[in-house]
Symmetry: C2
Subunit: 422 residues, 2 copies
């Protein structure tokens, strides 16, 4: 794409009133725009990143047998009354015609569990795994962390349905592995740790994926040997003594190591064994091999896409701007023409065509700006490879290539060999 | 995909309380599930159709220079007060913390126009065209037509921004042509007519795309010669006399023909020249060549994806079920194994692998059911090509191929030549 045709522009200054690093960088670079606290629009570059992450997640969800669907945001309050969650403080309530009471779903157990009653009657129908990418709504008390805590945000939620606890356990482990793969591909694999957390009202524990990040609202205790962590919330909670032996003391749940490292972290995913909590009150049952009615076992597995973008922006950026991993970058290469001569414009255009032909996603900075401005924009936008065409490079039939993630210049590459760079 | 792994099942009976043909067929075949009136979930087959339509629309929007973004559903009421639309009767209102007043957007001028102020300052920044696929919310008084009238529905909305009316006019014509291409590709090109309608508060006229359909809530007067129509609403409205010469009389706006055909129709798209209605009250201006401040001219162009699926289900179905055009069908081929022998199961599996290898999207009915049940399901689901493997066909090293859209059997095709069928 030609940058002159991209309607967004970079901003030198941080937007007024924005304190969160991820939101400042993503707005300055033109990836998102703020509608209000916790509510952002995705602009073209931001949407490209969102779609790339969506595809990584979709592939992994399909790999664990997930079938994609799309459920509505709008639901009648009565569904939430049945599960006794109508009082949840983050629920947005609204009213339709004739005093109809609706809510906006912050999660979809209340929609999906009744829906499954149409399709599940026998153990032979199970297991089923279903996922979606859908806007979630949460009436958050505070939403000051940019994309890290949204009032409206795109989430992937996977739900699984099983005949028996054992099958749920097995599937849960599979999804856990899928989550590791997702964070690995999204570029924050090294910073993300499986974390033991409270199971809420569902089960004793749940597992979170926590990315170590100074902007995080959570505190975790990390066992650097086992690469697992414990969320502070369960250390403080005497109900979880058994895992930690002594209340108030952080102990690695795997190796029982007591010298854990305290870190700020952001929850990038959360997986729960729901058991029969929802299937029981919503009446989702199946007949087992003996024709006996049993209650379906359920799991749920969430992952916020906007939050993941926010975490990447927090962790992988530097003082000059964003630094996207190849896997989710809006473009693979940022082609920059330096110099005002006709020749340079012509040759840069040729290089652009050559890159496109080689199937390389490229943003071509064809704007009539000074080199310094173009370089600053390229650093701010954070595309993995910067390719410069100038008098100097053309003298050697080459372009200059530099990786955004390192200060090291990769050096000159012959124009002839350009299609091999990505 | 193997049908035994698809979690949805077909239903023989219409769902209770559902009167709309499109909703009955789409639910019976397992494409959608009803959450409440006007609110549906898209199940795997339905989501595949939705994604196919989305891609057709995306391609056409990009072809007219549209850049894709994603705006939020949730917006503060104050934006709507500025444009004096806070009183719109289909607006859903909700309240956040500290009495914050929000609405759910039924359309996005109130979000996008202020956003554009960051990026538009000079005539050189224009034109800009921006589109999204996003859930819209409308507090509809009646929502009894299945997917034809939703309270929550995925819509494509494109907005264009111009320096001057002339540029808007030119672009408006381009989008009009793009819409024709979309309906053509979606399989309802022949049934869809450009229709002169009221411009609402924006301009004298707008253009609708109306698909002739007995389930439609609109009445149009169709000039069969010019292939354009007039919406009844403007014939009844004396403000539009000039187009129709005599109030109450339907006249073709192009050839002035008075013998128009009265038809029921569904609005599948609507395009508006907004002019400066929103840019003026929200302060979206640009400097012209002489440095003088001018107000940006805007156009908006809507298209509901769920409604389009509903219209296709209404128009192209028959008494046996849905009939999808190839372009948007969830799969290209429905492979059916008939007979219980091991040999048939084995050969059908081979054919399935061969089709997959040839890149043909295929649903493989590998379920242990009678031929009659399988055929009835195939007719209900409506995949374009039915491919049957049976003792009889295998005796001739062949499969039997039949098009869903015609009763005529295409006949036997040698298994060797299978990859050439789609």
């Amino acid at each position: 794409m030609k940058q002159s045709q991209l309607f967004t522009k970079t901003q030198k200054q941080a937007p007024k009133g924005e304190e969160s690093k991820n939101a400042i960088l993503l707005q300055r670079a033109g990836f998102v725009a703020k509608e209000m606290a916790g509510v952002y629009s995705f602009l073209p570059l931001g949407l490209m990143v969102l779609k790339n992450i969506e595809q990584i997640i979709r592939d992994e969800m399909q790999a664990v047998g997930g079938q994609e669907i799309l459920m509505p945001a709008l639901t009648s309050l009565s569904s939430w009354e049945k599960t006794k969650r109508a009082g949840m403080d983050v629920l947005f309530h609204l009213e339709g015609r004739d005093n109809a009471k609706y809510v906006l779903n912050p999660t979809h157990e209340e929609v999906l569990t009744p829906l499954m009653k149409h399709f599940v009657s026998s153990y032979r129908d199970l297991p089923i795994a279903v996922f979606q990418f859908q806007n979630k709504f949460r009436n958050e008390p505070r939403a000051k962390s940019g994309l890290l805590r949204g009032r409206e945000f795109v989430m992937k939620d996977l739900y699984s349905f099983h005949a028996g606890k054992q099958d749920l356990e097995k599937y849960y482990e599979k999804v856990k592995q899928a989550y590791f793969k997702i964070f690995q591909q999204a570029g924050i694999g090294e910073q993300t740790f499986l974390t033991f957390a409270s199971g809420g009202s569902f089960s004793k524990y749940s597992h979170e994926f926590q990315a170590v990040c100074s902007a995080g609202e959570d505190t975790i205790y990390l066992c650097e040997k086992c690469k697992v962590a414990v969320n502070e919330e369960i250390i403080k909670d005497p109900a979880h003594n058994s895992a930690n032996n002594v209340a108030g003391e952080a102990i690695c749940p795997q190796c029982k190591n007591k010298s854990l490292k305290k870190e700020k972290a952001v929850e990038t995913g959360n997986i729960f064994k729901l058991g029969t909590k929802f299937s029981e009150c919503l009446g989702l049952t199946y007949k087992d091999e003996k024709g006996k009615d049993k209650i379906v076992e359920m799991g749920c597995y969430g992952l916020g896409l906007g939050r993941l973008i926010g975490v990447v922006a927090e962790i992988l950026s530097d003082e000059k701007g964003l630094v996207w991993p190849k896997s989710i970058a809006p473009f693979q290469a940022h082609l920059i023409a330096i110099g005002e001569s006709q020749k340079i414009a012509k040759e840069a255009k040729k290089v652009y065509q050559q890159l496109l032909k080689a199937g390389i996603e490229v943003l071509f900075d064809d704007r009539n700006l000074q080199a310094g401005e173009k370089f600053a924009d390229a650093d701010l936008i954070g595309i993995p490879l910067r390719i410069v065409v100038s008098e100097k490079t053309l003298a050697k039939d080459s372009v200059e290539i530099k990786e955004r993630s390192s200060e090291q210049k990769v050096g000159l590459v012959k124009i002839l060999n350009l299609d091999k760079i990505v």
